[in-house]
């Protein structure tokens, strides 16, 4: 998936740089918000299909929220620090840091709100977060603790980085990581919206 998206991005850039005009591609590029609406609808269906979610949350009680809470607070604090370092406005900066590793959605949403440059930064930073997760999970499992392995993965802990979490942690952490991924994935669009409007 990571490879496919990188190829899609590079092909898009190459097309844009080439100056070639193909009507259907131009039409798609100029109407991405409709594709985003469809994507959000399909993501909603995926979240709705996790029918055991409420039962699992009951089993873990409030502990289920510790990890996503820490990930969200840490990412927002990071966004605030980045705002001071880069001079990017606080609302854009915290919204960009709210991607939690979900590079496709966060990049697209920030592009809609703040422009393509900020969307690209969000896309690249989220992509780096996902790649870093693959590298850091074994290290964190060894030197910190298993639940902390979920932190770099953020919203991807239920899908792309899950195989690494299965390999290097235990069953309980895997369940926590799936639930964390669902909660963080549901939180990403809300956080981006709220940060962009509130800060």
């Amino acid at each position: 998936m990571v490879l496919l998206t990188v190829i899609a991005l590079l092909l898009g850039i190459a097309y844009g740089l080439s100056g070639i005009d193909i009507t259907i591609i131009n039409f798609i590029a100029e109407h991405t918000h409709y594709i985003l609406y469809l994507l959000m609808f399909l993501v909603g269906i995926s979240i709705g299909l996790h029918r055991g979610l409420i039962q699992k949350i009951k089993e873990y009680h409030v502990k289920i929220f510790i990890i996503p809470f820490g990930i969200i607070i840490g990412s927002l604090l990071g966004g605030i620090v980045c705002s001071f370092m880069t001079g990017i406005s606080m609302n854009t900066s915290t919204a960009m840091a709210s991607g939690l590793g979900w590079y496709s959605l966060s990049g697209v949403m920030i592009s809609e709100f703040a422009g393509v440059s900020f969307g690209s930064i969000t896309f690249l930073s989220s992509l780096m977060r996902e790649i870093f997760s693959f590298i850091s999970i074994p290290f964190i499992a060894k030197y910190f603790n298993f639940p902390t392995c979920i932190a770099p993965a953020g919203a991807t802990s239920e899908d792309t980085t899950l195989p690494m979490l299965i390999r290097y942690t235990n069953e309980e952490t895997v369940v926590l990581s799936v639930i964390n991924g669902i909660l963080c994935s549901a939180a990403v669009p809300i956080l981006i919206n709220l940060c962009y409007q509130i800060f």
Binding site: I47, V81, C82, V108, T148
Partner: protein
């Protein structure tokens, strides 16, 4: 806000009406949408004037926006799990 409403409708349909047998097709459709959106993002980027000059600064800023929030997330989750999940998940089972 319209994005959240659309997602909410999706959650309701997923919870109440959507058949499990189409779960994989739904995921594939998500992938197609994602690829199309990212391709379009690339097209918009490539059309920008001075794009190639901008990419250097985008790379450095992207690194900052990856590294600092991720580091803070790791530190805060570590502290919270040390405080509230003390005897959990320290050893690999089996």
């Amino acid at each position: 806000m319209d994005i959240l409403i659309i997602m909410g409708i999706g959650i309701f349909i997923g919870l109440k009406f959507f058949p499990d047998k189409y779960k994989k097709k739904n995921e594939k459709m998500q992938m197609v949408c994602t690829i199309l959106i990212i391709f379009s993002m690339g097209v918009m980027l490539g059309r920008r004037e001075n794009f190639l000059q901008e990419i250097t600064s985008l790379g450095l800023t992207s690194f900052l926006y990856f590294f600092i929030p991720t580091l803070f997330s790791i530190l805060i989750v570590y502290l919270l799990t040390r405080l509230f999940m003390k005897n959990k998940s320290k050893e690999k089972e089996g």
